[in-house]
């Protein structure tokens, strides 16, 4: 005798179900496709989360104060406002924008030759907040009393919808991840059902030699879980490769910021084991259901 039985590698149960067959291939392909989509959904979720944080942080740490007054009074009004800000708790620093900076702000709309000096433009004061922030309501009341032409814009009306939009996007991305997981579980459950039906002879032989349901189920679970793991690993690898090959165009825009950064590249590595776990649970449930039904 040249060789004795070797039920190793996959585990003794796993080798009992033939590796070939369209259900095993279907499981692997489904897992690969779902893992590929999951990589994109995960990237969208992480990117939108980072974007929401970035927008929130950027806008939350600054405010703008607009001083409107007749040309003869605007310098005095600005000085009053700056003094008010200097004594306001929570204001780290203030800076009155120069005429050139205001021209640069208006240039996209009016072109480079705009005679800013001849316009009755308000003066803009940039406020940088201290970490604890300032009280915008209190500041508005004080400005109304001492500098009626000054209007505080703490960016709330801009910040809130942007952050909400980014948060919604992140929520949708997580819903997509969940739907992908559910779809994958459903597909693998169907594949498990087909596999059990196609391997009725295997089940018959195992019953004949005294195998319990748990062993038979484990044989199918091992086979399909391995297929799902291999497929999901391949799908994740292709998805990560696609992101790695995406052109980098800076990180200020949303679409150009779509992808993984730093340790974020490690996040998709959770997809293959999660896919295998989904396959394991789905196949086990399907196997026991079929085995109970057929006896």
């Amino acid at each position: 005798m040249s060789r004795l039985p070797r039920f190793s590698g996959l585990g003794e149960a796993g080798r009992i179900v033939p590796a070939s067959g369209h259900t095993a291939v279907l499981t692997s392909i489904t897992s690969a496709a779902m893992a590929f989509l999951a990589v994109f959904a995960l990237a969208l979720s992480l990117s939108s989360g980072q974007l929401a944080q970035r927008w929130s942080d950027t806008l939350a740490q600054s405010a703008t104060l607009r001083v409107s007054a007749p040309a003869s009074e605007i310098a005095a009004q600005t000085a009053v406002v700056v003094e008010i800000l200097r004594t306001t708790p929570g204001v780290a620093s203030t800076r009155v924008l120069e005429i050139d900076e205001q021209r640069a702000l208006l240039e996209p709309w009016f072109g480079p030759d705009l005679p800013v000096e001849q316009l009755a433009l308000p003066r803009l004061i940039e406020i940088i907040e201290a970490p604890q922030g300032f009280d915008p309501v209190g500041l508005r009341l004080r400005l109304a009393a001492e500098a009626p032409g000054a209007i505080l814009d703490d960016h709330t009306r801009w910040r809130r919808p942007l952050v909400q939009a980014a948060a919604s996007l992140r929520g949708l991305a997580w819903v997509s991840v969940a739907l992908i997981a559910i779809t994958m579980a459903a597909m693998i459950t169907l594949a498990a059902g087909f596999s059990l039906a196609a391997n009725a002879q295997v089940i018959g032989v195992l019953r004949l030699v005294g195998a319990r349901d748990a062993f038979i189920a484990r044989a199918f679970v091992m086979r399909l879980t391995l297929g799902a793991l291999i497929g999901a690993t391949a799908g994740t690898a292709v998805g990560l490769l696609a992101f790695a090959l995406l052109p980098v165009a800076g990180d200020t825009g949303f679409l150009t910021g779509l992808g993984f950064r730093g340790l974020g590249w490690l996040t998709p590595l959770a997809i293959p084991p999660l896919a295998a776990l989904i396959a394991l649970v789905a196949t086990r449930a399907a196997a026991f259901r079929v085995l109970r039904k057929e006896s």
Binding site: M1, L4, P5, P18, A211
Partner: protein, 224 residues
């Protein structure tokens, strides 16, 4: 060991087996005869719990089949070796792996020395690596016998084990089953081959049962 009391069975049409009483005792040797379609295979399946009877009682090793849990039935089947005419192998596993399957299915390590000895006993030690589709009819039957006895069952049920082999091979299979019986294993062979039964008379003291008119009858005198 296996006791059927007033057992009837059918497949939804007219009755196939009616009020069958059978007791397979330890160390006994039985031939089960009858024409094709009489219910021999059905009776064997009832004996190892693959089929559930329509009425009557079946007890396997003192346990009522009707009350056995699924796991308990699986455990009970390990005490019964079954040989089918079509052998029922897993074609992607080697002969040795198929023979060792009962150990694998019960989560026990395969005793390599016992496996070697068993394959030598059935004359298949040189075919251990062969896949079932490449085996001849006689080799398949001997491999099925090896698989049926590897767990040292208390009873072996063989359904037409010589149906696909020539006379010489059927004699060899019979001698293996007789040898097994001499070691204390109860054997029941379902066959319609009366010459096989006659050939066994000189080697073993066997009871001969016949299914006729849906009932089980002792038929020893008819064959002498």
């Amino acid at each position: 060991m296996i006791r059927l009391t007033n057992v009837s069975h059918d497949y939804g049409g007219s009755g196939l087996l009616s009020r069958v009483d059978l007791h397979i005792a330890p160390g006994a040797f039985y031939f089960l005869t009858g024409p094709s379609g009489a219910g021999k295979s059905t009776l064997l399946k009832l004996c190892y719990g693959e089929l559930r009877q329509r009425s009557g009682d079946i007890a396997l090793f003192g346990q009522d089949l009707a009350t056995l849990s699924r796991d308990a039935l699986a455990d009970t089947r390990r005490r019964i070796g079954v040989i089918h005419q079509d052998c029922r192998f897993l074609d992607h596993l080697t002969l040795a792996e198929n023979v060792a399957l009962p150990f694998v299915a019960t989560g026990r390590p395969v005793p390599e020395a016992d496996l070697r000895e068993l394959l030598t006993w059935v004359g298949l030690q040189h075919r251990a690596d062969a896949l079932p589709p490449t085996l001849s009819g006689g080799e398949r039957q001997r491999a099925a016998l090896a698989r049926a006895v590897i767990m040292s069952p208390e009873v072996v049920l063989a359904d037409e084990p010589t149906g696909n082999v020539d006379w010489e091979m059927s004699q060899r299979l019979l001698s293996l089953l007789v040898e097994l019986n001499r070691m204390g294993t109860a054997v029941m062979i379902a066959t319609h081959d009366l010459t096989l039964i006659r050939a066994a008379k000189s080697a073993v003291s066997a009871r001969i049962l016949r299914i006729s008119d849906h009932t089980l009858q002792a038929a020893g005198s008819d064959l002498s």
